[in-house]
């Protein structure tokens, strides 16, 4: 990574990590969700630095524009006064230890592994992606579309108020 790239990566990474920490530790759910939005935008930025602009755009389109708004709806509709958001300090510490250990192991493993990397894989254009979707991955593509339909119907059925 060249210097400027490293700067951009560090800024986006710091923004992402900071947002993520805010998401999982904040006392206010609404703000957590907004921080989740900024986390997603940071990740989208990382996608752009990875020359995956379509994925980055979709990240904004689907995640920020769709999922976050949907979650905001969820918060609005299930909001409770004075509900505690966090587990007890004891529990948080209990969880933090193993999770930090796991992340540490992962990072150590990543850093000590030498990957067979190829520099400068040219960014794929959308046409190539589209061809992949409609040729190599047409079956998963169709399955995902069925899944989305099922989720649509299922969500409506589950969330619908039972008529007495």
């Amino acid at each position: 990574m060249s210097g400027p790239e490293l700067v951009v990566f560090s800024l986006l990474g710091l923004a992402g990590v900071g947002s993520a920490v805010a998401v999982v530790s904040g006392k206010d759910l609404f703000r957590s969700t907004l921080f989740f939005g900024s986390f997603l935008l940071s990740v989208a930025g990382l996608y752009f630095t990875l020359e995956a602009s379509f994925v980055g755009i979709m990240q904004i389109f689907v995640y920020v524009g769709g999922v976050v708004v949907m979650i905001l709806f969820g918060i609005m509709l299930t909001q409770q006064e004075g509900a505690r958001l966090n587990a007890s300090l004891e529990r948080r510490l209990t969880v933090a230890g193993p999770v930090a250990l796991l992340a540490g192991i992962l990072i150590a493993a990543i850093m000590t592994t030498s990957f067979k990397t190829v520099r400068e894989v040219p960014g794929v254009d959308i046409a190539t992606l589209g061809k992949l979707f409609t040729n190599d991955y047409v079956l998963p593509f169709e399955i995902v579309s069925v899944l989305l339909l099922a989720a649509l119907v299922g969500a409506v059925v589950v969330a619908k108020e039972r008529e007495k």
Partner: protein
């Protein structure tokens, strides 16, 4: 050498999300944390697609994961609504109807 940085970052994201999923008491907050974990994973995939010859499969899968995540959030939120109606709370500590 950039791949390791991205992978390490995704591992950190994953860990943060995991921590949140295990400590948050609100069902929606748990959902958020799980999404963070998912993003860690997808970042991983996209990084590999950028730095390894397996061309753009990672991006394709990231897009699949996004679609699945959107479906997951929709269904998850529907469940949260149903839960809220049934239990009048979304506190996962208080929702222990499965308790033996």
């Amino acid at each position: 050498m950039g791949l390791e940085y991205y992978l390490a970052l995704s591992a950190i994201f994953f860990g943060i999300g995991l921590y949140g999923a295990l400590t948050r008491r609100n069902a929606v907050a748990v959902l958020l944390s799980i999404e963070i974990m998912l993003n860690g994973a997808t970042l991983n995939l996209v990084s590999f697609s950028r730095f390894t010859p397996a061309k753009s499969t990672g991006q394709v899968f990231t897009l699949f994961i996004m679609a699945v995540a959107a479906a997951e959030v929709a269904v998850g939120l529907a469940l949260v609504f149903a839960l809220y109606r049934a239990a009048k709370t979304v506190d996962v500590d208080e929702i222990d109807m499965l308790r033996g």
